[in-house]
Amino acid sequence: AAGVIQSPRHLIKEKRETATLKCYPIPRHDTVYWYQQGPGQDPQFLISFYEKMQSDKGSIPDRFSAQQFSDYHSELNMSSLELGDSALYFCASSTVDRGSYEQYFGPGTRLTVT
């Protein structure tokens, strides 16, 4: 079965640079979520999109932005990177069809800011 795809898997950037993370949800899933997991931390919700519209926003810095495209893939854009942005970034997808509310997580993108 198809899973959530994230790219790149690893990314190294310097402070003040920009990074773009991509997420390809499971086919026919209409909702995408982004989570940030710092070292030794639990995942924290950043933002979500339903049918290409932002549906909810969590603790996402103003330096970050995201969108969902017509093919349902999503991109998380991160500017003016800081050392504290180093983390594992997860994308998850789900669908409300059939009353299933499970979120399926991708393998994550490990971002290291130096």
Binding site: D30, F45, F90, F105, G106, G108
Partner: protein, 116 residues
């Protein structure tokens, strides 16, 4: 706001021993509850979920969890632990914030170490 508490940061068990990981939630309505497992540097894999109905739910890899409303708990159990079960385990609750917003709130996680 709802919260999820995993009281045990780190648990060590011997291979073949039984396991119980604790999870307590704070939420006004009946929550949707999940257990995820994360191996080092890996993604989150869903072990099991509770939405409604039978309070004892079976998951993958021989895990089960029991929803107890009176105790606001959703503890994860396994009768015999294998070395490959060593990982971090996260309990999570789904909060419906309206429309199709089903973001997850995670507990801090319990790190499981399995001794041979």
């Amino acid at each position: 706001a709802q919260s999820v508490t995993q009281p045990d940061i780190h648990i060590t068990v011997s291979e073949g021993a039984s396991l119980e990981l604790r999870c307590n939630y704070s939420y006004g309505a009946t929550p949707y509850l999940f257990w995820y497992v994360q191996s080092p540097g890996q993604g989150l894999q869903l072990l099991l979920k509770y939405f409604s109905g039978d309070t004892l739910v079976q998951g993958i890899k021989g895990f089960e969890a029991e929803f107890k409303r009176s105790q606001s708990s959703f503890n994860l159990r396994k009768p015999s632990v294998h070395w490959s079960d060593a990982a971090e385990y996260f309990c999570a609750v789904w909060r419906d914030s309206g429309g199709s917003n089903y973001k997850l709130t995670f507990g801090k996680g319990t790190l499981l170490t399995v001794n041979p």
